[in-house]
């Protein structure tokens, strides 16, 4: 409880100090978007991000600004980032799909078992917050039913089965949450933001060690990090080392 109070206080302080500045930056950026000076808009939105602020709308607008500038890699990054907060946002999804058509590389994702595919799509429909909330809600419902049943205040047929299924559901959702959490904390994804990037077989430049070339906007997994280089895995399983500044981490 103590933590929450302190958080609240800090929030209040911050809100009064920063809120006005952030708001004005955001409004200003939206204005220059109308005037089609997208560079300035990008600078403003990125400034807000630097202040430690997140919001799907912020990423959405940033993505639009980058798209208008023709910097599709950064646009994909912004939309993907926004979708981390609101994975079912139709506008974000639409713009991301549209931007992806501009991405030069078409990476064929190897086909997986359909159930796994189904599970993945379900998993990607929720944020971790959503999943936790849903799990907690199911748990509360099952607990409430359980309590009422034990107190003999609730008399419905098959009550134990209903309660059991609620508990199972809740456990499932918690399992998904855990899976998501582990994925978030262990899997680092990134978007290529350089026009063309050469992937090498080792973390140093050697012309004869070029494995493949990728272009901006490609989503990839970051396996290892070194000061200048990162090891990446493409969706189709190709591995290579690229310079870390050419990827923006999600």
């Amino acid at each position: 409880m103590h933590k929450w109070i302190s958080v609240f206080i800090i929030n209040v302080v911050l809100l009064t100090a920063q809120q006005a500045e952030i708001d004005s930056l955001f409004v200003q950026a939206n204005q220059v978007m109308d005037e089609q000076s997208y560079r300035q808009a990008v600078i403003n939105y990125e400034k807000i991000l630097h202040m430690g602020i997140d919001h799907p709308d912020l990423y959405y607008n940033l993505g639009n600004a980058y798209y208008r500038m023709g910097i599709y890699g950064q646009a994909v990054w912004a939309y993907e980032k926004g979708l981390q907060f609101t994975p079912r946002d139709p506008d974000l999804n639409f713009n991301l799909d549209l931007t992806n058509t501009r991405v030069r590389d078409r990476i064929e994702v190897p086909e997986t078992f359909f159930l796994l595919e189904f599970y993945r799509s379900i998993k990607n429909m929720f944020t971790i917050q959503d999943a936790i909330f849903l799990g907690a809600l199911l748990l509360v419902i099952s607990a409430l039913l359980f309590g009422l049943e034990k107190m003999k205040w609730l008399r419905i047929p098959f009550s134990s089965r209903i309660i059991g299924s609620f508990i199972i559901l809740s456990v499932l959702v918690h399992g998904i949450t855990l899976d998501k959490y582990l994925a978030l904390s262990e899997v680092h994804e990134g978007i290529v933001v350089f026009r063309e990037v050469e992937a090498f077989s080792a973390p140093f430049r050697r012309e004869d060690a070029v494995l493949f070339r990728i272009h901006e906007g490609v989503k990839l997994e970051i396996k290892q990090k070194q000061p200048e280089w990162v090891e990446i895995v493409l969706l189709d399983g190709k591995k290579g080392w690229i310079q870390s500044k050419s990827v923006r981490e999600l």
Partner: protein, 576 residues
């Protein structure tokens, strides 16, 4: 006999010296230093006493002279005054290309491994004599115009006029530098026609004609055409003699002389285009019409349509291409094949170019093959013009199978291609502070709630049991009192009364839940809570009461029973 060896010695010395002292000597000479323009002359390089043939590079000569024939090689040997002389000659027949004083420059000649330089030779080339002869034999070049725009056609015709007996040995076509050349007429065999030119009969041969399209602006020169021919002339130099026979005269007094005929250098002035050149101009000059038609107006998806774009007109049709144009993106376009048809027997190059595109629509719907435009420069009116096709509408019905769209886009993505991103959001949102985003308060509340719900039934039970427990304890504490009170009030059968009271007491006191107690169960249940002596007494008493109920007449025990039970219960209560 003594002199003989010395003479041999002398001879050998002489010969030896000969070959040593009079080593090779190289000279260059011409047979005439003063000639007229169309005359040929012989240029000779003579190497005396050389061991091998001279080699020479005559490229410096070619600036002013043109080679009619040669080189021919000749070797001769002669004995003069007992000395052997060899001479190796190289001869060329040359014709001057200019008038005035020309020089044959100093040439470097190598003989074996030695090299020599010749002297320069000056030559006078006059045109006086040529004029007289030119009337009998000359070449003309005709241009239909001398001022053109780039890409505009110039027709050039070369003709040979002659009044003398002659035969053509060789024709050398000029190189048309700076032009795109379309050959119009080049006969395999030269044919002469009789033409009257200013009252003089000429034999005229049409040698060559071509359509020239200048590719750059500025003053362009046409190189002269060169015709080598042999002319039959009367030999005037020969002195008349008494041996002359009028019959043989015609043979003996004739001689063939090689001649080279050149056209004059001709100038074509290529003007730059007037202002207003369209941005998509690809170089078409002339007058053209463009048309396009598709073989089908309605197809199923993934079936091919042939689009024919046809350009017809007069001008430089093979020199330019169509401007780039975009097909709708859902159409797969294969690179076109083009065919050029030229209409023969025309002075102006006329014909048609057709391009055939194969289009495969990948999606159903309607689309329009856009207007294809070709800007061109009309050289007659000297104005910019353009020709265009009509847009063609094609409707595509759903296909049998939907093939994959090229470039790796999925169907959904192809649908997206034409659209634009959705617009930004302007409302100021509730900002999320990255530092403090964790599990939210609501969720923690939910977990807390569910914990409470899970635990609460257990708690409730405990509370209830505690409540029930105190009641029982109260009852067990009161058990003796109630038993005593009940014993004082005797009613009915004393044995059954006592028995009931005792069982009731045991139940209350020891919190037994068994409904029906009998002596044996009581014994086993209470073995731990009542000392052995009292337990035996109790069992005995219970048995007495039980048996007393069903065996009347045992009054002796009847009186002491109540007091016995009382004392027993008191003792049990005290010990328990």
């Amino acid at each position: 006999m003594i002199k003989f060896p010395s003479s041999i010695l002398l001879l050998t010395v002489c010969f030896g010296l000969n070959s040593y002292v009079f080593a090779a000597k190289v000279t260059a000479s011409v047979d005439a230093t003063s000639i007229s323009q169309n005359d040929v002359f012989t240029f000779k390089i003579e190497a005396k006493d050389a061991e091998s043939n001279p080699k020479v590079d005559i490229t410096p000569l070619l600036k002013n002279f043109s080679v009619v024939s040669g080189p021919s090689q000749q070797t001769s040997m002669s004995w003069i005054n007992g000395k052997m002389q060899t001479s190796r000659n190289l001869t060329w027949t040359l014709v001057p290309m200019k008038t005035g004083t020309l020089t044959i420059p100093s040439l470097s000649i190598s003989v074996g491994n030695k090299s020599f330089r010749t002297k320069t030779i000056r030559m006078k080339v006059s045109r006086g004599k040529q004029l007289a002869e030119a009337k009998d034999l000359f070449l003309t070049v005709e241009l239909d115009k001398s001022e053109v725009y780039p890409g505009e056609q110039v027709t050039v015709i070369y003709k040979l006029f002659t009044r003398v007996n002659m035969s053509i040995q060789d024709l050398e076509m000029p190189k048309f530098v700076g032009f795109w050349v379309e050959e119009l007429f080049a006969p395999n065999r030269v044919e002469f026609r009789k033409v009257n030119l200013k009252g003089v009969q000429y034999n005229v041969a049409h040698l060559y004609s071509a359509a020239l399209f200048p590719t750059k602006t500025g003053e362009l020169f046409l190189d002269p055409m060169k015709v080598k021919c042999n002319v039959t002339v009367k030999n005037k130099k020969r002195r008349k003699s008494i041996w002359d026979d009028p019959f043989f005269d015609s043979f003996s007094r004739q001689q063939t002389v090689p001649k080279v005929l050149l056209t004059e250098k001709t100038l074509i002035n290529v003007k730059p285009y007037p202002n207003g050149k369209p941005a998509d101009f690809t170089g078409a000059v002339g007058s053209f019409t463009l048309s396009a038609f598709a073989d089908m107006k309605s197809v199923k998806a993934n079936e091919a349509i042939t689009l024919k774009v046809k350009l017809h007109g007069t001008g430089n049709i093979s020199m330019f291409s169509l401007p780039e144009f975009d097909f709708p993106q859902t159409l797969e376009v294969f690179p076109p094949t083009s065919t050029i048809n030229k209409e023969p027997l025309r002075d102006n190059i006329t014909g048609s170019v057709s391009w055939e595109y194969i289009l495969i629509p990948r999606q159903e719907g309607r689309f329009i093959i856009p207007r294809i435009e070709l800007p061109f420069f009309d050289s007659k009116t000297e104005e910019w013009d353009r020709t265009s096709t009509r847009p063609i509408q094609i409707s595509v019905l759903p296909g049998e199978t939907s093939a994959e769209v090229s470039s790796g886009l999925t169907k959904e993505e192809v649908v997206l291609l034409g659209s634009d991103i959705r617009y930004i959001r302007r409302e100021i949102p509730q900002w999320i502070y990255r530092k403090y985003s964790g599990i939210s308060f609501e969720i923690l509340t939910l977990y807390g709630l569910s914990l409470i719900f899970f635990i609460s039934p257990g708690f409730m039970k405990n509370i209830q049991r505690n409540k029930g427990g105190t009641e029982d304890i109260r009852r067990s504490k009161k058990a003796l009192k109630t038993a005593m009170r009940a014993l004082n009030k005797t009613q009915g059968d004393i044995f059954s009364h006592a028995s009931r009271i005792q069982y009731r007491y045991l139940k209350d006191r020891f919190l037994l839940s068994t409904e029906n107690l009998d002596p044996l169960t009581a014994e086993s249940l209470l073995a731990n809570s009542i000392p052995d002596g009292e337990l035996k007494e109790l069992v005995h008493m219970l048995k007495i009461c039980d048996s007393g109920q069903y065996a009347p007449g045992k009054n002796a025990e009847e009186k002491s029973l109540i007091t016995d039970v009382k004392s027993l219960l008191k003792r049990i209560d005290a010990h328990a």
